[in-house]
């Protein structure tokens, strides 16, 4: 997903579009205030579409940004291709299971072998909170515990090559 885009580029794009969206909204509101019922003709309809499109783009970009930030949060510099592939594979599963951002973070630490106390320390949350996240992860993934969760990923990794000949950095995560 979106290889090569850096979060800071997305942040700048979102900021610029937010300024544009704010201007268009302000323009539409003042048009409506001055024109009243006349503000619903074809010309205005196009203007409303112009207002709507950067707002929709911002929503999509924000979701992409959150994905990239979550992905980078567990990647270190000089990461091997295999670890990058595993990371993308995990995120694919997490999205399919409908894990929340916090649950995704906890699950990644869990798969890396951290225990509850370590995860709590790394996330700045209480151990009870982490335990609640774990229960939700196991329930959504429909597994009995950490071993079963890890085995899902190992199974996927063994059933397909880690490095594809086309040179993409991720195996098919679906």
């Amino acid at each position: 997903m979106a290889p090569g885009i850096r979060p800071v580029v997305l942040v700048i794009l979102i900021a610029v579009q937010a300024v544009c969206a704010a201007f268009f909204v302000w323009d539409d509101v003042s048009d409506y205030l001055t024109m009243g019922a006349n503000a619903f003709d074809l010309h205005q309809a196009v203007e409303y579409l112009v207002t709507l499109s950067p707002i929709l783009a911002i929503v999509i970009e924000a979701r992409l940004l959150a994905y990239l930030l979550r992905r980078e949060a567990h990647m270190e510099r000089g990461l091997s291709i295999a670890a990058g592939a595993l990371n993308d594979l995990m995120l694919g599963h997490f999205a399919a299971w409908g894990l929340t951002p916090s649950e995704q973070d906890v699950a990644t630490f869990l798969i890396k072998g951290c225990d509850i106390a370590e995860i709590a320390r790394l996330r700045g949350s209480a151990e009870g909170t982490v335990k609640a996240h774990l229960n939700a992860i196991y329930r959504k993934a429909d597994v009995s515990g950490r071993a079963a969760l890890v085995s899902i990923l190992i199974e996927d990794l063994m059933s397909q090559p880690l490095i594809q000949r086309t040179g993409t950095d991720a195996p098919n995560g679906k």
Partner: protein, 179 residues
């Protein structure tokens, strides 16, 4: 729970006086009248004082404690995206960007407002438009600021509006803590 003193009295008095004075001029006073001008000059004075205090003030009041830092700002976004609870003792990196934005905007409003009273710029259209656009920009920024403060308070469990009143942050013991 950690009970930490972060905002000195001058920072807090500055913050809430700016709130009252900006709100009065944006929402209540008549721009044609002298009161609007005097309040405007007071706001500029407050902002200039804050800039001075940012150079010589207490630890968390100084600009060196919250420099504009894009990498740290992306780090704060990453904390949000992963649900990690990192508490910044002073201003957060995103909060710092908002402060610089508001300080600059207040100075633009004050300068353009003053220009409208001078013979050289009286009645010149772009000065008036700049003044009004900067006020609209400030209003959008303030709405964003309030939303962000509420969100950040709920997310990290630190009541930020109360800290700006009492000067103390009450920080959950298990939080990750940054400067």
């Amino acid at each position: 729970m950690l009970h930490k003193k972060v905002w000195d009295p001058l920072v807090r008095v500055f913050h809430w006086s700016l709130v009252i004075l900006f709100a009065s001029n944006a929402l209540i006073t008549n721009p044609e009248k002298a009161t609007h001008r005097y309040i405007g000059y007071t706001v500029v004075g407050l902002v200039l004082f804050r800039i001075l205090w940012g150079l010589i003030g207490t630890r968390h009041a100084r600009f060196s404690n919250f420099p504009p830092n894009p990498a740290a700002a992306v780090g704060q976004l990453a904390d949000m995206a992963t649900g990690r609870k990192r508490v910044h003792l002073g201003h957060t990196p995103l909060g710092a960007l908002m402060i610089y934005n508001l300080i600059l905007t207040m100075l633009v409003i004050g300068t353009s407002g003053y220009m409208m009273t001078t013979l050289a710029f009286f009645g010149i259209e772009w000065v008036e438009e700049l003044h009004e656009a900067a006020v609209t920009w400030a209003e959008i920024s303030i709405v964003l600021h309030i939303a962000a403060v509420i969100w950040e308070s709920l997310r990290t469990g630190v009541n930020l509006p109360r800290a700006m009143v009492t000067g103390y942050k009450d920080i959950p013991a298990e939080s990750l803590i940054s400067e």
